[in-house]
């Protein structure tokens, strides 16, 4: 699959080339959707759903809310399809939209949240190793202790390979703030893990 997102550390090689190719194809899909070819939406979903879901999950801290964010993002994409032909960077557009919808939903549901953040699985183990599963559970608990904004920057930097400038544009903060959030987040995570930086 040409999906741009890098879900494991082992698949980071040639990520830039794949991302460029994916962005080009995504632009084509956006143009097709803009002229009313709705089947393009399924391909866009196949390409971006995992990343949209991951970003929403790390931002909202809830699997239920993340699913709602994915739904809302694609409903908005379809509703505003006429404008998609003019979008220059479709992936950044989808990431910004995901961020925006996540914030809206998070604010709306913050007071009546049923699922505690500790229960959210932010990461899963690659493979069937029991030790990895324990690591994944521990990492999820530690990530739950981080502020949502720092978690979001960690996700964007670590799993999608965005630069701090791109992260700043997606989250609507200056590049310096994005970098600062990343630094604070990793430092805090290392402290919780007991790893020296």
């Amino acid at each position: 699959m040409w999906a741009m997102t890098q879900w494991t550390q082992d698949t980071l090689v040639d990520g830039e080339d794949r991302e460029a190719a994916g962005a080009g194809r995504l632009s084509g899909l956006f143009e097709r959707l803009a002229v009313g070819k709705t089947d393009a939406l399924e391909e866009i979903y196949a390409a971006c759903a995992d990343e949209v879901h991951g970003l929403a999950l790390w931002r909202t801290g809830s699997a239920h809310d993340a699913a709602d964010v994915v739904q809302e993002v694609f409903v908005r994409l379809a509703a505003g399809r006429a404008r998609l032909g003019k979008v220059r960077n479709p992936l950044a557009y989808i990431r910004r939209m995901t961020h925006s919808v996540s914030i809206d939903l998070f604010r709306k549901r913050a007071r009546r949240r049923e699922e505690p953040l500790e229960a959210c699985r932010f990461v899963e183990a690659t493979g069937d190793s029991p030790e990895r599963r324990v690591d994944a559970e521990r990492a999820s608990k530690l990530l739950a202790a981080l502020p949502a904004a720092q978690r979001e920057v960690l996700f964007l930097r670590h799993f999608t390979g965005c630069s701090f400038a791109e992260i700043g544009r997606i989250t609507g903060v200056p590049t310096f703030t994005a970098a600062s959030r990343y630094r604070l987040g990793t430092r805090r995570l290392r402290q919780l893990l007991g790893v020296e930086s």
Binding site: Y45, F74, F122, F159
Partner: protein
């Protein structure tokens, strides 16, 4: 993409994929949203279309101005002389209507029509010259 120097933090871990059943839910939601927005009413279209809104506003304004123009009194009131002339014209018309020409019916024609005996012919006044 470069491997991040903090990559070891998540080594051997990955972010959960979107649930498989979510795709159907999303596509259904999109279809429902499309259906909801597919048939806007005339009011929706008017509200969303600038030219239609402008046209509606101009039409309303035109009707208001026309109504105001018809309701206002005329700016040049009729003078007393004009009124008197008009009254005289009306009186003359009424007089002409009342002064219809009289129809002379002869007694014989009248008797033939009604089937009665004819009235005696009116005697003509003797000519002042003495001829009958």
């Amino acid at each position: 993409m470069k491997r991040d120097k903090d990559g070891d933090l998540f080594e051997g871990l990955h972010v959960p994929h979107a649930p498989a059943e979510l795709k159907r839910r999303v596509l259904d939601a999109v279809a429902e949203s499309d259906h909801r927005n597919a048939s806007p009413t005339i009011w929706d279209r008017m509200w969303e279309s600038r030219p239609l809104r402008v046209a509606w506003g101009l039409a309303t304004l035109g009707l208001l101005l026309a109504n105001a123009g018809l309701s206002l009194p005329t700016s040049t009131p009729r003078s007393e002389g004009d009124t008197r002339t008009a009254d005289r014209r009306q009186a003359r018309e009424i007089h002409e209507l009342l002064a219809l020409p009289q129809v002379e019916i002869s007694p014989r024609a009248e008797a033939r029509f009604f089937g009665t005996r004819p009235r005696p012919e009116p005697t003509e006044a003797p000519d002042s010259s003495g001829r009958s």
